[in-house]
């Protein structure tokens, strides 16, 4: 009997380890021989711990499973959700980047190869650097961390830069609330990221890679480190990758709790062992990056999408999507939502469909008041904007951004003045302190919102003015984008701002 219990930290956080232990104990008691695999998550977080049992009908899903249901699971008395791929949330997806996540044992290289892994790297080994970069350009891949910058252009700059040493840096400092795609991928299919980074190294002539991984993800750190050791032991990393005669190696570097280190230049300073303060650009990291050398800095999902582009071809990837938003996006649906989880789909699905049909509306059953898309620097969008298709330009046109594609759902009990104040407070806490609009502006922003809350209507214009200054004058996206949640809350929910009985203190 083959049973799958996820090792993903979202599953562990809701009891997966206890479930796995109970299944093993019950099986031993009944004398049932059992092969228990700790897979990645399928991304249906509301069903976690989601246990799968192999059968002639495919892998049958059960969930959420509790430890005391282990016996019922083994004797077949527990009701199944049917084959896992038939669950509507899963069946509606187009899984390219996350194709293997949840399907395999994340640390089995044999599993990885059996499901298409390493095909892309083998293809890339036979190509020149220019051809590799050309593939990425043709696929139309754009930075999945949030900025949406064309990945091929970035790689080309590094390829053409002359230096004795170049780097590939993976930005795994996924600090945006409502996002967990990076974490899920690193815990569920780490070899994909390793393969993507190796292809990047071959493409631009870099021999060393770093994964800058946040300390808030201890499970992801452990899986990535183990996967890198396995990859090295099997000749996938090291001085002669897959006997190509080419070298590439990488290691994990653990962050230390600074949100701003998700900004690429802060991240590079942090990797160098300095305070994670933002650098002015230019020079671009592609020209002068880590230790002053040409450096690719890409998000986890960007790099983890590289293998499938090389496995199936750039044209296959680029055929998905909408306009200039090519391919698929792993969208994370979170917060107060009935069916929360990771939903990978081609760009173009309207926001409302994601929230109400895929996500099933709020978990509380109350009406949706707003969704915040793109993390703490993303705009709050009311249901009136739910027909916006999920794409970079489409969201930009609505005064928002897709960022790292997290959607946080709020019901009608949310107080948007409180959320706007929190945005400013968060910016004040996390500001690196280098530029004045962010460092001082965020503190003044909290005070100004408090004045509005006390009934001072004249402070509303002041807040708008302050947001303009922060937007135009900040060095990076932290101070520059914090006006998005603040101003969208103020614009769409003016009734929440001002002196009200319930906030009078």
């Amino acid at each position: 009997m083959k049973v799958y219990v996820p090792r993903d930290s979202a599953a562990k956080a809701v009891g997966a380890d206890a479930v796995a232990d109970a299944i093993l104990a019950e099986a031993a008691e009944r004398g049932i021989e059992i092969d228990l695999v700790r897979n990645g998550s399928r991304g249906m977080v509301w069903l976690e711990p989601l246990v799968e049992v192999e059968s002639e009908r495919g892998r049958l899903a059960y969930g959420p499973v509790t430890a005391d249901q282990a016996g019922g699971l083994l004797d077949g008395s527990l009701e199944s959700l049917g084959p896992v791929e038939h669950i509507p949330f899963f069946a509606r997806q187009t899984r390219l980047t996350f194709a293997r996540c949840g399907l395999t044992d994340p640390l089995s290289l044999a599993d990885y190869e059996a499901y298409g892994g390493l095909t892309g790297l083998r293809r890339a080994i036979a190509m020149t650097g220019e051809e590799i970069v050309q593939q990425v350009t043709e696929a139309g891949l754009r930075g999945r961390g949030g900025a949406g910058f064309p990945t091929g252009v970035k790689w080309k700059t590094v390829l053409e830069a002359h230096a004795d040493r170049k780097y590939v840096v993976c930005n795994a400092d996924e600090g945006d609330s409502g996002t967990f795609a990076d974490r899920m991928l690193m815990e569920g299919d780490p070899f994909t990221l390793i393969e993507g980074m190796a292809i990047a190294g071959l493409g631009v002539g870099a021999t060393q890679g770093y994964v800058y991984l946040r300390s808030e993800y201890p499970d992801a750190i452990a899986v990535m480190e183990e996967a890198i050791a396995i990859a090295r032991a099997n000749g996938l990393l090291g001085p002669d990758i897959l006997r190509s005669g080419r070298a590439f190696d990488m290691e994990v570097r653990v962050g230390a709790g600074a949100y701003v280190c998700g900004e690429e230049t802060s991240l590079l300073n942090s990797l160098e062992g300095k305070r994670g303060v933002v650098r002015t650009k230019p020079p671009l990291p592609a020209v002068e990056g880590l230790f002053g050398k040409p450096t690719i800095v890409n998000n986890v999902i960007s790099l983890a999408t590289i293998p499938v582009i090389f496995e199936k071809g750039a044209a296959h990837y680029a055929a998905f999507g909408l306009g200039r938003s090519k391919g698929t996006m792993p969208i994370q649906i979170a917060g107060n939502v009935k069916h929360g989880g990771l939903f990978e789909t081609a760009f173009g699905m309207p926001l409302g469909e994601l929230v109400n049909e895929v996500g099933g509306g709020t978990a509380s059953g109350r009406p949706v008041k707003a969704v915040q898309v793109g993390g703490p620097l993303g705009a709050y969008l009311p249901p009136e904007q739910f027909d916006t298709p999920f794409g970079y330009e489409e969201f930009d046109g609505q005064g928002g951004l897709i960022g790292h594609a997290g959607i946080v759902v709020f019901d009608d009990t949310a107080d948007m003045q409180v959320m706007a104040r929190f945005a400013m407070e968060f910016c004040a806490i996390e500001s690196c302190g280098k530029c004045t609009p962010c460092r001082i502006g965020a503190v003044r922003g909290v005070e100004t919102i408090d004045r509005i809350g006390q009934g001072d209507a004249s402070a509303i214009d002041l807040l708008s003015d302050l947001c303009e200054t922060m937007k135009d004058g900040s060095l990076c996206a932290l101070g520059g984008f914090i006006p998005y949640p603040v101003m969208s809350a103020l614009t769409h929910f003016p009734d929440d701002f001002g002196a009200r009985k319930e906030v009078a203190e």
Binding site: S9, A10, K12, A13, V14, V45, W46, E48, E174, D176, S177, G178, T179, F180, D182, R183, M184, Q208, S215, E216, Y217, P218, D219, R253, V254, G255, A256, G257, A258, Y259, S270, L271, E272, G273, K274, R275, G276, V277, F291, Q332, I333, A334, G335, N336, V337, G340, G341, A363, Q372, P376, G406, V408, V409, D411, A414, M419, F422, F426, I429, E430
Partner: protein
């Protein structure tokens, strides 16, 4: 506040940071190694690291003080990090945090009087579809409510 600790030995600190000397950008790995061993960065370590990396003590202190993870004094026996970010707020995270701080009689960063539990804020654990979430030492916990949090704290304090 710094706690001079008689158990801290300069040679021990040297041994902790030695494996990282040849690495590129060794500062953060060294600080993580010291904190993993002592639970905080002892004052003595600042001097040793500064000398090893040919930097001033002020520079090392500057790095330590920039990052929320590094502490200059020991925490309580257990550290509970409660997520304050938006996705957890959307499902009652703020009320849970307020109740927890209230029950322990501490503010953010404070330690219960028995020295067992320090409560800190964290901005996202990547458990945004199963909040409210927290991390107890290195263990993640999701779908928390006051009842489960109370049980968790009781367990930590016995």
């Amino acid at each position: 506040m710094q706690h001079p600790n008689p158990a801290i030995d300069l040679e021990d600190i040297g041994a902790l940071i030695a494996p990282h000397i040849e690495r590129e950008g060794p500062m953060l790995p060294m600080l993580h190694a010291v904190q993993a061993a002592y639970g905080f960065i002892p004052r003595e370590a600042v001097g040793v690291i500064a000398e090893t990396l040919n930097q001033t003590k002020a520079e090392v202190h500057g790095v330590i003080s920039f990052y929320q993870d590094f502490r200059d004094a020991p925490a309580g026996r257990h550290v509970v990090k409660i997520c304050r970010a938006e996705a957890c707020q959307a499902v009652g995270g703020s009320a849970l945090a307020d109740a927890t701080l209230g029950n322990l009689g501490v503010d953010w960063g404070g330690t219960s009087t028995d020295g067992k539990v320090t409560v800190e804020p964290v901005y996202c654990l990547g458990l945004c579809a199963c909040g409210p979430a927290a991390m107890v030492d290195e263990q993640v916990v999701g779908r928390l409510d006051e009842e489960r949090m109370t049980a968790l704290l009781r367990e930590l304090r016995t």
